[in-house]
Amino acid sequence: MARYRARRVVAGMAAALLITAVAACGNDDAAGGGGTEAASADDGATLTLWTRAATESVSKAYAEKYNATHKNQVKVTAYPNEEYPAKLASAAGAKSLPDLFASDVVFAPQYASQGLWVDVTDRFGALDVKDKVAPAHVKAGTWEGKVYAVPHTIDMSVMLYNKDLYTKAGLDPEKPPTTLKEFAEHARKIDKLGGDVNGTYFGGNCGGCVEFTFWPSVWAAGGGVLDAEGNNAKIDSKEMAEVFALYRSLYDEGVAAPASKDEAGPTWLGALQNGKVGIAPGPSVWLGLIEEKGVKMGVAPIPGPDGGESTFVGGDAIGIGATSTKAGQAWDFLAWTMSDEAQIEVIAKNKGVPTRTDLASNKYSSTDPRVVLINSLMEKGQTPYARNFNASFNDPQSPWLQTVRGALFGDAASSLSTGNADITKSLQQS
């Protein structure tokens, strides 16, 4: 049955090791980083760049612009989101990482701690704009005081609401909710339209979706999720309980679409694109993707239960593969991606969020007030930091997903405290 797949997992691991053993005798100096890149950083090298499917379009846009003006040529390869961490792990085991690879920013501390990226502390420190590069992302790419990764793309969570449904339900489409309680009221009103229209939608079987959309409300209320080092969970707080209770009631009342319970991520975007959901928190980068389908959308910050606003500063971080022999050339590309030219002509032009705080308002953003709003949220947002983030929060077998399921659909009273202990244990596992 699954014998072949299973054997492949085991054999793949072992084969990777075999190559490791052979390659270990080869050159290790590339991992050291240093080098004399200044003179020959743009010498026509071919650089491989790996990314996950979610970020592919941005990585390709960067590469296209860079390739047009540089001798170096960047080749982008994208992998399916779920398979990407495994792909990276097996490449690392075989010592055949690409010259550059991006990762979900929350996984960056794990890759940095494993030494999968070249230490770029000195190179980054020499940049003129270093203090203006998204601080939450830079911190995520830092391990034991050394910088390993820089921001590649930024994606923030916001409230996305359907303006047509707002009008139909007698709500003012220019007045989005300013508290989470008001959000629930709006969702209930829209749900009353009946038919196949639902008030709201969330990814109730997806740890990553829930942290991305619920945590900003906790932060806005002054609560926390993790300690600064990412060694202890702090999810058994009254702020967290209040946010979960609110979403739970929306599900119980049938205001949240019934599919919310089983949404594991893949059909989340599709559910918002069909125009039958009133208001839901989601990724800011979906604004364009939803409007493509002819749905008129409004954007608002994610509020706390009684006000305030915050966001989850997500997206991807990128660094130089530890086994690359072209660290100098690869840094030339990375440094360029943080330049005014790349941030304005590639990112801002495509309605993306610049990775530089000083470029939040630029010549393109002013044409769409919603983009100005999204860009302005970055300084209020947070990026959680933990070495074992994936295993503790995002993986389908993570203790966080167990906790979420309990808090939303099971035993709400005990799930947060039990979950807090389980997650802390997972965070501290070496």
Partner: protein, 316 residues
């Protein structure tokens, strides 16, 4: 394969040389070398892709093995940690439960199909092909196919059942409840593998000499008696083979749960191999993954030794 073919090929080669006929010892040496030469490609493949990884996994299980940094010896930590791992415990229980259910169901369906198509009649070729055909679809592809078919968003199954009136409102087969998630994986595995096991059982059925059935008929045995007293006992070696394949395959289940249910809902369909995958590729702890693999391997070896022992005793 090469090892099977080589004896036939080396005979003419050996006879061709007269000198070797006169000197039997040299001939024997030469034959032995030829044999080794013919067997070596297979031996190299087995060594490279089976023995070396096997030894390496064993070696890894004794170490803390990061992706890039050098490994450090930590035995028996990787094995001791297995006991503390709550997920391993629930996954072991689930894997055993799944193995029992799927072995019973798959065997019943496969044997039923084999009995249905065992005699040559008009149209039997069509049914044999139809039953075997799902085997031509890759297992991962088959899992994706079922994921699509069972999806409430894009698949036709839920709409169909709603039209007939069997279900009402929104249903999620693959993650709605632990039972429906396991059920959808079982239906997938039955569809995909029943035909293959039917084929093995069919060869066993056709190896039973028709004279025995004739003798039974002459003696006035009923259909049920014939089945119990003749078919089942004579089919025993084939049944043992099929059961071994089913049990081993089920204990190593991965694709169906990884793709169809992602181990959910609430870890209710997380199999042991999925835990190994999580240790290696999510936690990046290759040593721990190797530790669980070694334990699973030992369990499988013990199981197969027992099963093959029983098989050998019975066929003697």
């Amino acid at each position: 394969m090469t090892t099977v073919i080589s004896p036939h090929r080396e005979q003419p080669a050996a006879q061709a040389s007269r000198r070797t006929v006169r000197r039997p010892r040299r001939r024997q040496t030469r034959r032995a070398w030829l044999g080794i030469a013919y067997a070596s490609p297979t031996a190299v493949m087995v060594a490279l892709f089976f023995l070396v990884p096997l030894v390496l996994v064993g070696w890894m299980s004794l170490h803390k093995w990061p992706l890039l940094a050098p490994p450090t010896f930590n035995a028996p930590e990787n094995f001791a940690d297995i006991g503390d791992n709550e997920l391993v415990r629930s996954a072991t229980w689930f894997t055993v439960k799944y193995t029992v259910i799927i072995t019973v169901l798959l065997f019943a369906v496969a044997l039923g199909l084999a009995l249905l198509v065992q005699h040559r009649r008009r149209g039997v070729g069509f049914f044999r092909t139809a039953f075997f055909l799902p085997m031509a679809v890759g297992f991962a592809n088959a899992s994706l196919l079922f994921l699509g078919l069972l999806s409430d968003e894009i698949g036709p199954i839920s709409d169909l059942l709603r039209a007939v009136g069997l279900v009402d409102g929104y249903v999620s087969w693959t993650s709605g409840s632990a039972h429906s998630a396991l059920g959808s994986a079982i239906v997938l595995v039955l569809w995909r593998f029943a035909g293959f096991n039917m084929l093995i059982l069919l060869t066993g059925l056709q190896a039973i000499p028709p004279e025995i059935y004739e003798a039974a008929r002459v003696d006035g045995a009923s259909r049920w008696q014939t089945f119990r007293r003749i078919t089942l006992p004579l089919l025993r070696p084939t049944i043992a083979l099929v059961l071994t394949l089913m049990v081993t395959g089920s204990l190593l289940a991965f694709d169906q749960f990884w793709i169809l249910t992602r181990g959910g809902p609430d870890n209710s369909t997380t199999s042991l191999v999925m835990v190994i995958y999580r240790e290696a590729f999510i936690r990046l702890d290759l040593g721990s993954a190797a530790g669980i693999s070694v334990v699973l391997l030992v369990v499988l070896i013990v199981f197969n030794v027992i099963q093959l022992g029983v098989l050998r005793r019975r066929s003697n």
